[in-house]
Symmetry: C2
Subunit: 694 residues, 2 copies
């Protein structure tokens, strides 16, 4: 506990991990950053942690305690848990995917479970309704175990199939034309060698090298490891001195990683992997022709440690980076298995891999220390990697497979953004492009073939459902498109998977706020402007909320609400992105009119309505023909990089070329952020097309 920096009379348990300053709850929620929360919006890590109570750093080491059995229904999975640990701990230990956005801090209210038998000790929480409490709902992270327990995972807590932009047959079919010349990292080279005689008795390895020389290779720079040396004698004699050698081309030299008998099937497979903080996507690709033979996606299992990279790093500091790595690997390997099964291919044929992810995801996966990414001056350990071997990092493909890791220029601008550039290609063009990828952070790139500037702003996880009462990812049951009737404020919406809704995803929220603004339901400051007695309006405690769907329309048998604080969160997120645009343009001596193209990517859902994104002030009010929404560009760039040496070189070059601008100590960013905390903006002149509508 400490004293709020704005209200020294108030004790508070929330602290910004960056600035080591305490903020009371009012300050945390308040909207005027100049007066109260001056550090919050510019702090790129934007990380408030509850201290003193169940704060992460204050959890004492668990003593040897009694173990209880926790049964999770409907999965019927039993997990052991020591006395005093939480149900969330048990779920994590048992690898049961729960939605736990805030990493167990008790602030998101997403990890709801229904207690069916047994007793736990639970703190009272305002995040559960009275009805839920009556029906034995508990928060997994706030319930400590004191007996054997049976819990049921309710519909709203279960994770469903993700809707990933960039999947689907037509998308992958379109991608297949992107790469003209295919040049894998690992190549299988057939060799026919002369059998040895008494007069020609050089060693097997020398004979192999001679074979390479005869096939035109420069052997001066070819290296061979012990593993290959150990298998060499048998491989060379296995099919009468015909062998196939697998060679990985590296920057300074090549390495022979495998020698097998015979000159049989030389075709190999590759996987392109996009490791998102939220979701992971895998493409399985025929290396010979670039055909995508399977595409799978799933939730990153690390999500149980929190929604954003900061929580993941905190988790890694507490439990060790290996744990986070295993969770990520488990997800990836599961998706690779799905892809292998669906395409009916042999795992061992996969010998080329590309990993694309933000800097933290890559650090965690490779078990590289991430803790300094979240501390000023936000330094990653490694930004560019040599070609790695799949077996060394735990990928379940051919252990000798060559792994290219997309390089990332900074702690908060990673390889996924470089992938995005590879795919969109604007760094090769004259036209000036403004690129934004919205996720937990909004990464912005501005530039063209001559220059590239990049920055990251704390958009927060709102567009991915984080911090929004009924917010969720673009999964089955998410409301993704909304219109509101002007007269009765009755919404019409479409839901991912055409099922009854159970929440709202990013594109749905943008639609909703835009519609609420244009119908006059809310004022430009985000406050409701509607009679409390209206049937669509309700109160939750002191807070006003709009009823987006009544309980009987939903799959969760509860009203799906959109709270005033949810609007507030979205305004903060869009304000951070818009401020980011302006400051980066300003640093380059540009304004919006000088931008030739604007590319938007990220996890909003498949159907982002760009017009409505302008209406709320997320995107600038410029010629709509300049906009392009490209969904997941990280996987697309990874796919291209998998196939082509040209793009692997380009990735390194892009990462080196980008100039990173830090916003965390930038006063202009603070001003722009404050001005952007209105719908669409404090200065309506910046949004002429919206101005005449509101």
């Amino acid at each position: 506990m400490g004293k709020c920096i704005n209200h020294p009379d108030r004790e508070t348990s929330f602290m910004c991990m960056k600035h080591n300053l305490y903020l009371c709850e009012e300050c945390l929620k308040c909207r005027d950053p100049k007066i109260h929360c001056k550090f919050r919006p510019s702090c790129p890590i934007w990380f408030m942690e509850k201290r003193g109570g169940k704060g992460i750093d204050d959890v004492p080491a668990v003593e040897k305690k009694i173990e209880y059995k926790i049964l999770f229904m409907p999965e019927n999975k039993e997990v052991s848990a020591v006395e005093g640990s939480t149900l969330l701990d048990a779920a994590m230990a048992g690898d049961i995917p729960l939605n736990a956005s805030c990493n167990g801090k008790g602030s998101c209210g997403k990890c709801k479970l229904v207690l069916e038998s047994g007793t736990g000790k639970f703190d009272d929480t305002p995040l559960l309704s009275q009805e839920e409490k009556t029906n034995n709902y508990v928060l997994a992270c706030q319930t400590t175990v004191y007996s054997d327990i049976t819990v049921r995972i309710p519909e709203e807590t279960l994770e469903k199939k993700l809707q990933i932009a960039g999947m689907g047959k037509e998308v992958t079919a379109r991608m297949q034309g992107l790469v003209q010349e295919i040049s894998p990292m690992l190549q299988n080279i057939p060799l026919e060698l002369q059998p040895p005689t008494l007069d020609d008795s050089i060693s097997d390895l020398d004979r192999l090298m001679l074979g390479f020389v005869k096939s035109g290779c420069d052997t001066g720079r070819i290296s061979v490891g012990l593993k290959v040396m150990r298998e060499l004698a048998a491989a060379m004699r296995g099919e009468n001195w015909k062998v196939t050698a697998s060679v990985i081309k590296k920057s300074c030299s090549s390495e022979i990683v495998r020698v097998v008998p015979g000159n049989g099937d030389l075709s190999s497979l590759g996987v392109a992997i996009d490791i998102g903080t939220t979701s992971i996507v895998v493409y399985l690709v025929e290396m010979a022709d670039g055909v995508i033979i399977a595409a799978t996606s799933g939730h990153n299992r690390q999500a149980v440690c929190g929604d954003d990279v900061i929580n993941r790093i905190v988790c890694a500091e507490k439990d060790g980076v290996k744990k986070l790595s295993s969770m990520g690997l488990a997800t990836i390997n599961g998706l690779i298995n799905e892809a292998i099964d669906s395409a009916e291919v042999e795992r061992v044929r996969i010998d080329n891999v590309v990993l694309s992810g933000n800097t933290t995801m890559i650090h965690l996966l490779l078990q590289i220390e991430p803790r300094h990414i979240r501390r000023e001056p936000y330094i990653p350990s490694v930004s560019a990697f040599p070609i790695l071997k799949a077996g060394h990092i735990g990928l379940k493909v051919n252990p000798m497979a060559a792994v290219f890791v997309m390089p990332g220029p900074a702690g908060y601008v990673g390889g996924d953004i470089v992938s995005g550039l590879i795919y969109t290609g604007f760094h090769r063009e004259e036209a000036v492009t403004l690129f934004i990828d919205v996720g937990t952070n909004g990464e912005i790139v501005l530039g063209n073939k001559e220059w590239l500037m990049t920055a990251s702003c704390s958009a927060g996880p709102a567009f991915e459902g984080g911090g929004i009462r009924w917010g969720m990812r673009a999964e089955e049951g998410a409301i993704e498109k909304i219109t509101i009737d002007q007269k009765h404020f009755v919404p019409t919406f479409s839901v991912v998977g055409d099922v009854p809704p159970r929440g709202i995803c990013g594109s749905g929220m943008i639609d909703l706020i835009s519609e609420m603004l244009l119908t006059g339901m809310i004022r430009p400051n985000g406050k409701f402007n509607i009679d409390d007695t209206h049937p669509r309006i309700t109160k939750d405690g002191d807070e006003t909320a709009y009823i987006l769907a009544f309980a009987d329309e939903t799959s969760v048998d509860k009203d799906i609400l959109f709270m005033e604080s949810d609007i507030d969160n979205i305004i903060r997120s869009k304000g951070a992105v818009y401020a980011g645009f302006k400051v980066l343009l300003n640093q380059a001596g540009f304004d919006f009119s000088m931008v030739d193209r604007m590319i938007i990517t990220g996890g909003f859902g498949q159907y982002l309505d760009l017009e409505k994104a302008v209406t709320i002030g997320l995107l600038p009010d410029i010629d709509r023909a300049k906009f392009q929404y490209l969904g997941n560009s990280s996987i697309a760039g990874a796919y291209m990089t998998l196939l082509s040496e040209k793009y692997r070189k380009e990735a390194i070059e892009i990462s080196n070329r980008m100039t990173y601008v830090d916003f965390s100590s930038n006063n202009q960013f603070m001003d722009e952020f404050t001005s952007a905390l209105f719908l669409p903006h404090t200065n309506l002149e910046e949004f002429p097309s919206v101005k005449h509508m509101v």
Copy 2:
């Protein structure tokens, strides 16, 4: 069983593994190769295996059987053994060092044990005397287990401390002057880095690389592995951005293998290791000044699988190469431990290693397939190695230590010979040198700075004690110098360690045969020329023997005999070496008179009498001033290579320069060998100085 190729009426169980031909026991022992054993002396693997009976390839897979406990005294070590396995198997399983020269074939009679309780089933053997049988002596390899058993290892079966030429303070002190400029493979480079700021937020790894650039390194070719990346963040912040980076310089690039905080003690240690088939030598060296701070040596524990490389390969084929590797590593790591303890240094400081050994020893240690070395056309898997890491091959030093493996030009001329050249340096000189290293094989090198020819002849293990009834290595208790009084044929001898004798080593055998020849006790054909009734003469079965020491003079309480068949074996060995000299000289268009220097190395013992070696015809009868006996040159060359980049490059160059001549299909070798099967030679004119004495 099969028919003898010379006597089709005889069934025999001995077979040459190379030629797949059976030879009866008479042919095996006979002296005229043209008539009987035409394949034996030229066959470089010279490997007779007992087939049909307990032959190696015919042992059926062991079924699940009852286990018994075998207690070995005086070590008081208990080992489990399944019913039907041999006491030698049990000793191997329990890592109890027994002398087992023939690898369990029952032909050497060295693995004697005394049965104290329990019962085994043992084949009757002529290799044990009646007295021994009465006293419950058995051969470990011929005794199968059918109950719990207690055995005592008698004095003569125990392995004692080796006498290694090249050890001792004065030898190591002399070596320390050999290397002028020290350039280790792994270097510790101190760096002082600029701490990062918001304006200078490159990754830790990029910052490290910048540090290298500032210190004048070319970073374009520096690679870094995952392990270093994982430790980097903590190391760089540990002592305020001062670090020490350890870099291994490789042929095409360098690799950073370790980064530790601070610029503290940069001094490191190295070990030079000579891996002999019989014995292993370790030098522990201060890399800064080349001072040898400890030198240790011991028996290669692989000896339990047989005396020579062929038996070791057979063992690897049967039990897997990993087992042989573990045995070698156990020996090496034990010796490293001894050296560390004696010098009182930290293991982690050892970060440079050189391994020098024959081709088979290196293959076995690194777990590389050795089986083709013993099969025509005798091909090793690998002859030259990249720099390896100690941790990867199981050496218990700093796991990141750089390991240089001496390259070897052929299956039967290995890195130990290249080491020998590095030490003697004749490949840098104008003078033509004939170099011989006598062990199980005699490796010969002829040449100077312009050309180098090399060959291997099957000397056999006789000079190391193998195949000689009371033969032993140059250990404590070995008779190493002998003179015989002309009148009464009474020997005067000196013994290693000044203790009562328990056998005879190589230098002793050369002295003995020379003396017996000069005193007229034996004829030039090696047969005794002395009255059977002489008190020094006895019979063992049909065979005549000379009593070198009476039972009461010895530590084994038995007469130490030198058999007619022992003389025969030595004549074969020296004949193969001498024939090798002549053929190699002939191939080069040379004769002995054109040789400027003759260097002899190998495991004879510390005091090889060169004059007597000429007398028996092992060395040519040339100017004695040209002779030089240098003991263990492999360890000396390894030491030099450890310290200097110059010698590491030279080693690779020497190995590539050597032209290997194969004797196995060489008719001239056969003729020369036959002519050399007399003392000193069939053609006495070749030995003028000996001629006038006999």
